[in-house]
């Protein structure tokens, strides 16, 4: 007969129990049922990068066709499909989700909590993303990719001028993927409000969190306009409504207003988190705290706000009344002011800093030099008469690639080199990283700077070929060369990534001596539960503010019982008050479940039914979705203790 000793568990036993509890199940069950924000975040990033390289390949094919006049590499139909899918993929299937992925991974860690506010919803938003991506790309499987351009203006994109199923892949697909973005935004906002570490007032949040908060609020108010725009488009195409048909009293410009009301904030939805990444990386490698933190945060919020007042600048050539256009021209100029403040806060940080030239910092410098140019051409485009010459020409192609490729993609690559060590536990190779950066930077500028000139030589956008003798040949050749170089540069980072998985140097907890809470976890990758004890955050730069981080302890009341290891042991995390960040209650983190996947699958089947116009399929999807959501909500016991 053995006597069982009653004693409290040792820290080691506790630690083991926590690891065991949070471990993901192996194989398919773990994969499809996981609700862990770190796994979901990495899936977003990996999936988005697959689409980055696909869209990059599409770009290179486009460039192959445009290198010489009257080229026969591809005909107009293929070319039009290619540029449609290139733009659509880059915006919807790479840029937007990859930033959401970084947000997903980093937010709980930077905020000092154990998961997002709605972990199952988080999983759901990923499943929607990948199913929507597959939905759109299945257009290639049936040889019917859309060819209406990534913004699909009507009437060209309606049933008359784009017959067949092609544009429906686009219209339904964009509506579909919007669900993921919206749901993700809900999750970010509630997490940021209610799950910050004790003492982390809004004034002490990491600047990246401010950028994700701004992004999420923009998504909330912008995506509905896109949803309405594409739903009405599909209603016209599939059900014969007249929203955009001039003959039926509808208006093609209505589509443009709805699309761009989302479209302009969307570019800031991309730019702002990228700026947040730069604002995180720069202080670390300048070895000083961010200068003007308050003003950076205020600028991020200010830009987000103003971004809703400029959409008409995408429509300056449509013949709108002069007064309206003047207002939007003014607003488009004004948005440069908070951008300037943000920019100079970062320059100030560098100026008085002692810079360590790591790869992430190089990519940040790349951002500075590229965004400066893109921002300046943006201001030019706000000047109405200039816009009338430059819009819809290669000048605008140059501008938006400077801001959407350069000012978003370079920070993303910087973020990879900066955060992958924490995510995977392995450093990427520094030398290869620097080579990758330089090739990307030179290639980028060779590819996109000449496009400004091409636009001013009268080359319109979206043309599959051009005649000899217009003087466009040489520059197009340079552009193609630069694009190839840029692509090569990105491939080097891809190779670097695979190399690091095999033989990268172990990263340790904080290889950069950085300041954020994500670097306070004892290991890289972080423990499954993130924090066995929730840290107390007294300053903006926790790891720089104190030698040893204070850890909260579990109390006996509802509000504090999950602060310490007991919270990790019970798969719980604290909920705190929105403003003061004082403890309020305890949240049970849901167990892994297939329900988010099932619901997403049901919704995918609904969209499939709409696509192929089969009511049976749609109803089947509705049934699956209804079962999924009912079960999910039924199991959400918010009321019982």
């Amino acid at each position: 007969m053995t006597v069982t000793e009653e004693r409290p568990p040792t820290p080691e036993e506790e630690h083991e129990a926590i690891e065991l509890l949070w471990e993901e199940a192996p194989g398919a069950p773990g994969f499809f049922a996981s609700v862990d924000h770190k796994r979901i975040g990495m899936r977003y990033i990996y999936t988005a990068f697959i689409f980055f390289f696909i869209a990059g390949l599409q770009a290179l094919l486009l460039r192959a066709q445009l290198t010489s006049p009257d080229s026969q590499v591809m005909g107009p139909q293929t070319y039009n499909q290619m540029f449609t899918m290139h733009g659509t993929t880059m915006i919807f299937l790479f840029n937007t989700p990859v930033l959401a992925g970084f947000g997903n991974y980093l937010l709980p860690l930077q905020l000092g909590t154990r998961d997002m506010a709605f972990p199952r919803l988080n999983a759901f938003s990923y499943w929607i993303f990948i199913l929507a991506a597959i939905f759109m790309y299945s257009s290639y499987l049936v040889g019917r990719p859309p060819a209406g351009g990534w913004f699909a203006y009507v009437p060209n994109a309606n049933k008359t001028y784009s017959p067949g199923i092609n544009m429906d892949f686009w219209g339904l697909g964009v509506t579909f993927v919007g669900i993921s973005t919206t749901v993700g935004a809900v999750n970010f906002i509630v997490t940021i409000f209610k799950m910050r570490a004790p003492g982390m007032t809004l004034n002490r949040m990491p600047i990246f969190v401010w950028s994700i908060l701004s992004m999420a609020v923009m998504i909330l108010f912008a995506v509905p306009a896109l949803t309405v725009g594409t739903v009405l488009l599909e209603a016209d195409r599939l059900f014969g409504t007249q929203f955009y048909e001039a003959a039926g009293g509808g208006s093609p410009l209505l589509y443009q207003h709805l699309f761009w009301f989302w479209g302009h904030p969307e570019v800031y939805i991309l730019f702002i988190p990228a700026a947040g990444m730069v604002s995180t990386i720069v202080p670390v490698f300048a070895r000083r705290r961010l200068a003007g933190y308050k003003w950076v945060a205020a600028s991020l919020v200010g830009i987000s706000f103003i971004s809703f007042g400029v959409w008409v600048h995408h429509m300056f050539a449509t013949g709108l009344p002069a007064l309206a256009m003047s207002f939007f021209s003014a607003a488009s100029l004004i948005i440069a002011i908070p951008s300037g403040v943000l920019f100079f806060c970062l320059i100030a940080t560098i100026w008085r800093g002692e810079v360590e030239w790591t790869v992430p910092f190089l990519f940040a410098i790349g951002w500075f030099l590229i965004f400066l140019l893109g921002g300046v051409t943006g201001v030019m485009l706000g000047v109405l008469p200039f816009n009338w010459q430059a819009t819809d020409s290669y000048f605008i192609v140059a501008h938006f690639h400077y801001v959407l490729n350069g000012a978003v993609v370079f920070p993303i690559f910087g973020a990879l080199y900066y955060w992958l060590p924490k995510m995977t536990g392995r450093m990427l190779d520094e030398k290869l990283g620097k080579v990758s950066f330089w090739i990307m930077f030179v290639g980028f500028n060779l590819a996109f700077f000449p496009m400004h000139v091409l636009g001013f030589l009268g080359m319109p956008r979206r043309i599959y070929t051009y005649s000899e003798g217009l003087g466009w040949e040489t520059l197009n050749l340079v552009v193609t060369f630069g694009s190839g170089l840029f692509g090569l540069g990105t491939l080097l980072t891809l190779i670097n990534f695979f190399m690091s998985k095999v033989k990268g140097k172990p990263a340790g907890a904080n290889p950069w001596n950085a300041d954020g809470l994500e670097w306070s976890t004892p290991t890289s990758p972080p423990p499954e539960c993130n924090f066995e004890s929730i840290p107390v955050a007294a300053g903006r730069h926790p790891l720089w503010d104190s030698e040893k981080l204070e850890e909260a302890e579990s109390g006996s009341d509802e509000a504090t019982r999950s602060m310490g290891p007991p919270g990790a042991l019970n798969r719980q995390t604290p909920i705190l008050s929105g403003l003061q960040s004082g403890p309020e209650e305890t949240m049970d983190i849901p167990e892994p479940t297939y329900l988010p996947f099932i619901l997403a699958l049901g919704i995918a089947v609904i969209f499939m039914g709409l696509l192929i116009q089969a009511a049976v399929v749609g109803v089947l999807g509705l049934a699956v979705a209804a079962i999924g959501i009912t079960t999910w909500l039924w199991r959400t016991e918010v009321d019982l203790q």
């Binding site: 009257d70 209406g148 093609p252 200068a291 021209s329 002011i337 806060c345 810079v355 400066l372 109405l384």
Partner: protein, 326 residues
Amino acid sequence: MARARHRVVSLAAVGLVLLAACSREAPNVLEPEGPGAKSVASVAYLMFGLATVVYVVVAAFIIIGALRGTKDSRISDNAFIWIGGLVVPTVILAGLAVVTVKTTDTLRKPDADALKIEVTGYRFWWGVKYPEQNVSTANEIRVPAGRPIEIALQSVDVIHSFWVPQLAGKVDMVPGQRNVIRFTADKPGEYRGQCAEFCGLQHAKMALLVVAEEPGEYERWVIRQQRPRGGPGSEREAAGEQVFMRSSCAGCHTVRDTEAQGTLGPDLSDFGSRRTLGAVAVENNKANLAGWIANSQSIKPGNLMPPVTLEPDELLNLLEYLENLR
């Protein structure tokens, strides 16, 4: 017969090979040929200059800042943030706002003396009408140099955009809407334009020419278009006219003062005096025309004109007829 067929085949072959279109010089925004375009070009130069200065100065701060490696500096954080980030941009933007208002104002001022033209966008060509002169043509817009022009823009199908960089900024052509563009061509010349709103398969080859002429020459052209058309000048032309009316041509095209009153394709009334065909796809000569008629899809794949099969001598007569329509 065999000789005629041989001629046709070689003409068509040459036409098909001459896919490389007209060598019109690049329509350069910075080589303006009208007052509107000139004012925009000035604004552009101003902004390029300003942009270069701003870029060089700010980039210098960034790079020097990163290379300095020391905490000490007489320039405080606040100086950077408020002077660099707020004051200087505000001043520059205020200046640009004034420039914007002034330039926009001048560009949009209507002129009572303007020559009024109507241009309608089709996939993938331009219908051109002179309502007050009762003249109709396509793809090449003749204007008197030095006189203000006011064009009413419409579209019958999708959104197109009218852009002649050397003369003016672009204005969209939206179905159900009537937009207006104004410009003056300072001196005679040929100014290339192109559709600037993606309109489908052959958006790339929907180009146009604004042909500015001395006012006297322009007037002569107008009068020629208004005069009742005489009969065909030669036997071959007469035979060609017969081919035109009997084949599918007349169903889609109009030739003024004949039975051909089709409206699906461009008006061919003065086709012979046009410099290009296919909306500036290729030079207008018999070789290219033969290729176009036989199979325009090989020159402009996806345009809405179907191939037309004709006997070799029919084709030759038709070419003679069309090239003499002035």
